[in-house]
């Protein structure tokens, strides 16, 4: 596919907003997107069935990397085409690309919607948002008042299923105070809702958000308060830089380890997959 060097996509329309991340440090031999793919891959298990939606080059690459390293048994579904285990040569920017049908199998979109509702089959759901809050709730719909928003997002697609399906892996290319807010203006993809009390009383079948990967750091959730907490900072990133870019009080427990850099073997696999260089940009 000769589509030229498309820039690596930010999630769901966030592409139009300024990414305030510093320019890629020139001494790093890998891009932040590549590091993020490695971080997401590390979280995937051999018995997972993962599903991803719109503009999902990054989770596609993460899943394929996991399959080719520690999780050969992983299943992953590219929403849109609903191809199962696309062969990804190369990674494509659209979740509906015809080339994704180079895959082990493919099923109708309606079947994937059924399985998202069934809840016990799909164990990993990749998510993101224009806004992501301290409890891992996502918003792809509207910033400001829904009825007259200051920024109208594209819409939520399948994110309401986050309440129902396995572990939620959040990723975003935009680690800013506009993205990471104390509370989303519109709840389009449920995380831990308003915190422990509301989460417990909702009695949801999903496991909730498990991981948040950004160009600056990797975050998780505090088991008690269910608020986001820093897990590792990426090489070359300062903890204060993360704090400054986060619009809520991020839990930080010293010392914060540095995210492991991608290994040469991981980078070699990623670059084989990503011959169009979608992950090279940022």
């Amino acid at each position: 596919m000769a589509r030229g060097q498309a820039p690596f996509p930010a999630r769901d329309g966030a592409g139009e907003r300024a990414v305030t991340v510093a320019p890629e440090p020139s001494e790093l031999a890998w891009s932040r997107s590549e590091l993020m793919a490695v971080e997401l891959a590390a979280h995937l298990r051999d018995d997972d069935v993962a599903v991803m939606g719109t503009a999902s080059a990054l989770p596609q690459a993460a899943c394929r990397l996991a399959q080719l390293t520690h999780a050969p048994g992983l299943w992953y579904i590219a929403g849109g085409t609903c191809s199962v285990n696309p062969h990804l040569a190369p990674v494509v920017p659209s979740c509906c690309d015809f080339d994704l049908l180079r895959a082990d199998t493919a099923i109708p979109l309606a079947d994937v919607v059924l399985l998202e509702g069934r809840g016990d089959v799909l164990t990993v759901f990749f998510a993101g948002g224009l806004q992501i809050d301290a409890y891992g709730n996502c918003n792809l719909v509207a910033v400001g008042e829904w009825s007259r928003p200051s920024l109208r997002g594209p819409g939520t697609v399948g994110l309401p299923f986050l309440s129902r399906v396995g572990r939620v892996l959040i990723y975003t290319m935009s680690h800013t105070r506009r993205t990471f807010v104390e509370r989303v203006d519109f709840l389009s993809g449920p995380g831990f809702l308003g915190g422990p009390a509301e989460w417990a009383s909702a009695g949801l079948s999903g496991g909730g958000p498990a991981l948040v990967v950004t160009p600056l750091c990797t975050m998780g959730f505090d088991p008690g308060s269910l608020r986001m907490r820093l897990v590792t900072v990426h090489p070359g990133v300062d903890i204060d830089e993360v704090r400054d870019a986060t619009g809520f009080d991020l839990l930080v427990e010293d010392p914060v380890p540095v995210t492991a850099a991608p290994t040469p073997a991981q980078l070699s696999i990623l670059r084989d997959l990503d011959s169009d260089g979608l992950l090279k940009g940022v």
Binding site: G80, T81, S94, D97, L109, R148, T156, L159, F161, R164
Partner: protein, 304 residues
């Protein structure tokens, strides 16, 4: 018996002005029935409610940009990795369009209910916690599960009056083969009262009969077949050509303003015939053709 019509005849005959509910097929940048959409703009048909697949793109944004849409029922309008939908965004932020905020599960299950004559469709537990149903009480409501006594979120059936769909091939009676991914296009055909089909190629029924099991839209659901090779441009047509980032980029940059989208429409839609549009697009379409591979059309079943 033939349902072959010209683009203009198909829209003139089957799309009433201010059509109550118009559905557009395809998903994201793929299989958008753009020739039919452009013709709707040329004929200035206004639309009471526009329904997209779970992910609308240019098929919705162009109609909104042309000022034809009163209300949109959608779970996404955007250009995936290329950015937000400029006209949708502007119209919503300006309050000039009503939004029936939906999620993917409701659109899919709602079409199932519409196709099957179901009065409504229950939605899986957990969907009630998002804010979507709170802002859309036209599409969502609650009732009692008589088996458990619990309150359940349900959706209204989706029964479009007219659906505009793309298929790879069809015969003149409307038996159509979808190549590549099917998205929710077959469900839309099943749920819609009138189906207009644009196809890359009209083929004899014998050709369709070679692979009956993969043929996903039976002709008795189809009112008109329009042959427009290249008609999905600048979106992709699975089995034929990829999407055109150049043209989409041009649209996205021009549509940043109301004036710009007006100029785009004048230059690329209302000011040109479909033949002229496709003539101009043909060098790009040639570049975007998918490489060699097995036939995109399923082949199965019994001969004869």
């Amino acid at each position: 018996m033939s349902k072959l019509l010209s683009l203009s005849d198909a829209v003139e005959r089957y799309v009433p002005d201010h059509v109550r509910m118009l559905a557009v097929g395809g998903m994201h940048l793929h299989n958008n029935p753009m020739a039919l959409v452009r013709e709707i703009v040329r004929q200035q048909r206004t639309i009471g409610r526009l329904l997209t697949s779970p992910c609308g793109a240019l098929n919705a944004d162009l109609l909104i940009g042309a000022g034809l849409v009163d209300e949109i029922a959608t779970s996404y309008v955007g250009f995936e990795h290329l950015g937000l939908a400029p006209c949708f965004r502007r119209a919503v932020e300006a309050g000039s369009i009503r939004v029936l905020e939906c999620d993917e599960a409701y659109i899919t299950h709602g079409l199932y209910a519409g196709a099957g004559g179901l009065a409504f469709i229950p939605l899986p537990a957990g969907l009630e916690v998002s804010d979507i149903p709170k802002v859309n009480q036209v599409s969502y409501a609650t009732t009692t599960d008589p088996f458990t006594g619990r309150e359940v979120l349900v959706g209204a059936p989706l029964c479009p009056d007219v659906a505009l769909l793309h298929a790879y091939q069809a015969d003149e009676r409307g038996n159509a083969v979808l190549a590549g991914a099917h998205f929710v296009d077959r469900l839309m055909a099943l749920a819609s009262r009138t189906v207009l089909l644009q196809v890359e190629q009209v083929v004899p029924t014998e050709e369709i009969a070679r692979h009956p099991v993969g043929t996903t839209i039976p002709g008795f659901l189809v009112q008109a077949v329009v042959e427009v090779a290249g008609g999905c441009h600048p979106t992709a047509s699975h089995g034929a050509y990829d999407y055109d980032e150049q043209q989409l980029g041009l649209y996205l940059s021009m549509a940043r303003s109301a004036e710009g989208v007006g100029e785009y429409l004048e230059r690329h839609v209302t000011g040109v015939t479909e033949e002229e549009y496709l003539e101009k697009a043909s060098p790009r379409l040639a570049e975007l053709r998918y490489g060699e591979g097995p036939s995109p059309v399923p082949s199965s079943g019994r001969s004869g």
